[in-house]
Symmetry: C2
Subunit: 333 residues, 2 copies
């Protein structure tokens, strides 16, 4: 568990996109963001107060989160100076970078001297068990995608927000680096050893109140040749009571796989349900979440209506119109 | 690549089952087995000449393969003495044990001093790529199972034997520890990091002659809640032209999962084909391989005839009757 609240480190981000991890934290956990820390030349701005390390610490911040991608995969001297000072002041550090903080000798030594923790959320910190397939109490909904990067995390976070607004018990369960930094906990599923994938998801979504929903962030797609095994492990480890199909309608091919067409929504529905019924015979598809960013309002409404008629379940864009209809469909299960 | 031929180390195996890895090597690669090495009290016997380390080395053996499970997960002093002497004589060591040879300080030091290699086949020795999904030349057949441990490795090895006997070009591709020790190479798929599973199978089965068949050892089952992700990665990384469904008819539940019934052969066929068609639209199920060990000859024949009528493809027990009919079905594709 990563200590909150956070100071968000934006470094020398060349644009807002480079700071998308920080943006995700700011969008979904604004209460946990004391401020932002920017180096000279930083072009990203989250609209949070710019703070020094000392001031943010005095205002309660306990973890400096690296919310920006680094250039060339190395921690630069200008970054390192800030990170070392943060450890000295009393911050833990959290990072989803490919090159691990713990492998930086200067940072590792400083963390030891000052008794601080380096959270490299890209690698598992737990020896996960092999999945048992045993039924757990409580309910679970899983986001499944026609492709990678179609909005599964966003859909799950919007569901959490709107389920809680309806008075439901709901917890977002992160399975990727950004989600883990947003919530402070989770399983970095793509870095888990094959034998323990489904078990890590059982670990992530344990027994809970009968009326509590775990909202499991999906990964990949059953129809994505590179990552499908991860997607199936989520279904079998998650034992979902409900699935939400996530889709991005402007894709011309599967992400990173030129020549691979996207599956139909019906194909995703049918295969995901067949697999889900192995572990939960009552699992249902409750809705479709569409990323309509590329469409005007009328076009988006028309597209959602078409999908809804086609698949026979509510179709929404949770960013544009909220996820309340999906939350209501879950409440009605 | 593990150097051959082998001397098979049976240690103090309490029974034949404890030496099943050595038995597999002896059954499938007898030409590569110079002899067996047994400690006092060993109850396993492969029918190979008992040889000293020095004699076997003089007869050409270059790797001492630990073909036996160790008790309590530790390398005992009596084992270690033999392994150290082997390194000194000039052997490499190969092991599928959970506790790695390289983590044994005495063995690691001796290997370094003598310039020998410790092959811990349970862990990957390669940084596998992410799968690209690109079409490779050559043909591939994959064993898929209704469950774990139903005979997928045996089926694949029998197919290799009988395809070669028919004059076909065929190579068994190991994806598990025993298979790797049998063939001297392969991918320990259950120990691969999630993101690289499908890529490791692409790596294992690269471009080849147009009329060459890779016979890919299957793992797990799409319907096994603990390991299904591995099975799907095999389908998407393998890009199979053909599938053989493997089945063991006496199972009352999925291995290790009480309460989980086995899927029907039709369910495995339909889901495996749906997933295979993502990467290879021409993939076909060419046969069913049944482990009829628990049946008398008449019962086995009747059961195989029933399965053949039910699924509409050849059904054979490759151990009992050979895999020639499956090989012919592949040749006819």
């Amino acid at each position: 568990m990563i200590q909150t609240p956070y100071l968000l480190f934006l470094g020398d981000a060349p644009d807002g996109l480079a700071a998308k991890v920080a943006q995700g934290i700011r969008d979904w956990r604004p209460d946990q963001c004391v401020g932002q820390f920017r180096l000279e030349g930083c072009k990203a701005d989250l609209g949070l107060p710019d703070m020094s390390l000392a001031d943010a610490y005095a205002n309660g911040a306990r973890t400096l989160v690296i919310g920006v991608a680094n250039r060339g995969g190395v921690i630069s001297q200008s970054w390192r100076a800030v990170l070392l000072e943060a450890l000295e002041i009393g911050y833990d550090l959290a990072s989803g970078l490919h090159n691990l903080l713990r492998n930086d000798n200067a940072l590792a030594a400083a963390a030891q001297v000052h008794g601080r923790t380096l959270h490299d959320v890209r690698v598992p910190g737990v020896a996960y068990p092999i999945a048992t397939g045993e039924k757990r109490t409580g309910k679970r909904v899983l986001a499944v995608g026609t492709d990678c990067s179609v909005g599964k995390m966003y859909t799950a976070l919007a569901l959490e927000r709107d389920m809680v607004a309806l008075g439901m018990k709901a917890t977002f369960r992160a399975t990727g680096q950004t989600g883990i930094l947003i919530t402070g906990a989770g399983v970095p599923l793509d870095a888990v050893i094959a034998d323990f994938m489904a078990g890590s998801i059982e670990y992530l979504t344990p027994d809970n109140d009968a009326d509590h929903w775990d909202i499991i962030e999906g990964q990949g797609s059953l129809f994505h040749a590179s990552y499908s095994g991860v997607s199936l492990a989520l279904i079998h480890g998650g034992q979902p009571d409900a699935l939400v199909i996530c889709h991005e309608p402007t894709r011309t091919h599967m992400r990173g796989l030129p020549g691979y067409a996207l599956p139909s929504l019906e194909a995703v529905r049918d295969t995901a349900l067949t697999m889900a019924h192995v572990v939960n015979p009552n699992c249902k598809v409750v809705g479709v979440s569409v990323n309509t960013k590329a469409m005007g309002e009328d076009e988006a409404r028309a597209y959602l209506a078409k999908v809804e008629a086609q698949v026979g379940v509510p179709a929404v864009d949770p960013f544009r119109h909220g996820a309340t209809r999906l939350a209501e469909a879950l409440a009605a299960l």
